[in-house]
Symmetry: C2
Subunit: 347 residues, 2 copies
Amino acid sequence: MSRSSVPTTRSGRATMNDVAARAGVSLKTVSRVVNGEPGVLPATAERVAQAIAELGFRRNDSARQLRTGRAAGIGLILEDVADPFYSVLTRAVEQVVRDNDCLLLTGSCDDDPDREQELAMALCERRVDGLLIVPSATDHSYLAHEIKAGVPVVFVDRPPINLAADVVLADNVGGVRDGINHLIAGGHRRIAYLGDDPAIYTARERLTGYRGALDAAGIPVDEALIVMGRPEPIAIRAALDRLLSQPDAVTALFTGNNRLTTAVLRELSGRVDRPALVGFDDFELADLIAPGLTVVAQDPAGLGRVAATLLFDRLAGLSDAPRRVVLPTVLIPRGSGELPPPGRRAR
Amino acid sequence: MSRSSVPTTRSGRATMNDVAARAGVSLKTVSRVVNGEPGVLPATAERVAQAIAELGFRRNDSARQLRTGRAAGIGLILEDVADPFYSVLTRAVEQVVRDNDCLLLTGSCDDDPDREQELAMALCERRVDGLLIVPSATDHSYLAHEIKAGVPVVFVDRPPINLAADVVLADNVGGVRDGINHLIAGGHRRIAYLGDDPAIYTARERLTGYRGALDAAGIPVDEALIVMGRPEPIAIRAALDRLLSQPDAVTALFTGNNRLTTAVLRELSGRVDRPALVGFDDFELADLIAPGLTVVAQDPAGLGRVAATLLFDRLAGLSDAPRRVVLPTVLIPRGSGELPPPGRRAR
DNA sequence: CTGAAAGCGCTTACAG
DNA sequence: CTGAAAGCGCTTACAG
């Protein structure tokens, strides 16, 4: 078996031309074999396969991509993969992406609008087939060009602003309503709401759920019981001190997200007389603290799965008007949300 | 300003040629402007910039990639992004990748060796500039071709098998040794070790740390106190029943990873007389359960950062022999690891 | 069943 | 300072 010459492609990699030369066939025949196209004599295919193995040939997808226009890749932009909510969402997206024989390109933007746009543009320059975005920007008109150029974009967890596009959301209003109703049913009337920065869509939505539930129950909303802002330990401590020690002290707390819940738990852990607590968003070990943490659970995996599936539907040609999908939440009682108000604790 | 004709590129996207035509310059001049190359008359650059804006031109990176051979992308393969250990690692990798103006392509392989290889090959076909792998396969010789072709590969958390390549590891042996020594210093002699499937590198290494610490302290290793296997609740319950009720019951447990620790905590939560517990790997809320969980903390962000940095060093030309970097662990006492053995609890 | 030619949209290497 | 030509490694559209 005379080994003629090592392929001397500049990149150190064999190309289809190298394979063709070695197998004594044309470039096109190699392409047929590599892509499993029909109409190649078994004997020919065999020779090509052998040349491929000998040269360690691996198709260059950037050339293929240039020619076909398909990247076989999807971009995912979110706030921070390190956050369990997003990492679970990412995993679900990955699964759908894989089922569609694509690769996933990801980036965290830390709620920085500029970074979101930067990432989106970089992904578009790479000509990904579609984009999944948990938005941080306050204006998404910058994507209009890309959508017109045929790149489907699906928003997740928060809707786009100044742009018509698909979006998959959790039922923020309904979820909080359920949680507040649960506390009301437990006898609570003085229920505080700790939410994130109202600049965040979900923070506003959830607050709406709080107000709605109180209204529906005929309990007047006391604005002094609403605390909105970034989860800073110091601010939270101050808020809790006030809420729990004021004349008509609160008997229950609702925390608007994971980070707030954790921060509140840390502050509460030293206290003797604990208020009831329901948190929005579930997390690992919520059942192992004492009392177990009652939560309104979102479905991050569902958000990712549904959004990614919708994206591939769009890629497959689905051309409705932009859709708005809302996924339900689930109340999971574990103890903290079932603590009665002090007056009733004697029984 | 006469608007001649909308660009009719097949993809619906303007190309450099379209821009050139509109600006009345050559393709090459457009390329110069887009890439910020010097030697373009300000007036010319201005005309080009305007044409770019009008056409919504965005450079096609797949063409650029084909020509330059640089993907400006890094591949990351791991077990499961949804696991906090990996999601934090991913975030750190992302940061380094971004600092180097690259994009990140990721994939989870669920400890499936075939899936690892599939992903690695797909990423190589896409001609990523380098690969970061938390390996699941038991043979990495399949990567020899790629490495020879110039794709640097850095392994993370577990070393490669049958392949010489860089690797960044946690100090598994030393970390467990510290944890066991801590328990011994607390008066414990009957210390059980619950580890994961010994097919996993880190599980074997950590067990080695356990044996070493006992040996060094002159405590004979009782094989009956070693339980290795996937973290199945049923198996763990059975093991705990046996370990805690046998004649010479254990007074302390060491759990070899996050999932084992969680599973053990769930089983323990009902019990009255708790053994001391130290877990390998830290997690959120470990301070909020009672007693606080004492852990040997790894540095997942450090692993990701150091590995990614090493990868870019390789891309920049660093050509030493393959390196092996070991990152230290830290013992964090929070209560569960400081519970004394029953004999001493009276004091 | 097989192949020669053209072209995807850029960058490279020259030339003027 | 600007541009014409060639080519990266594939796939497309034909032809035989």
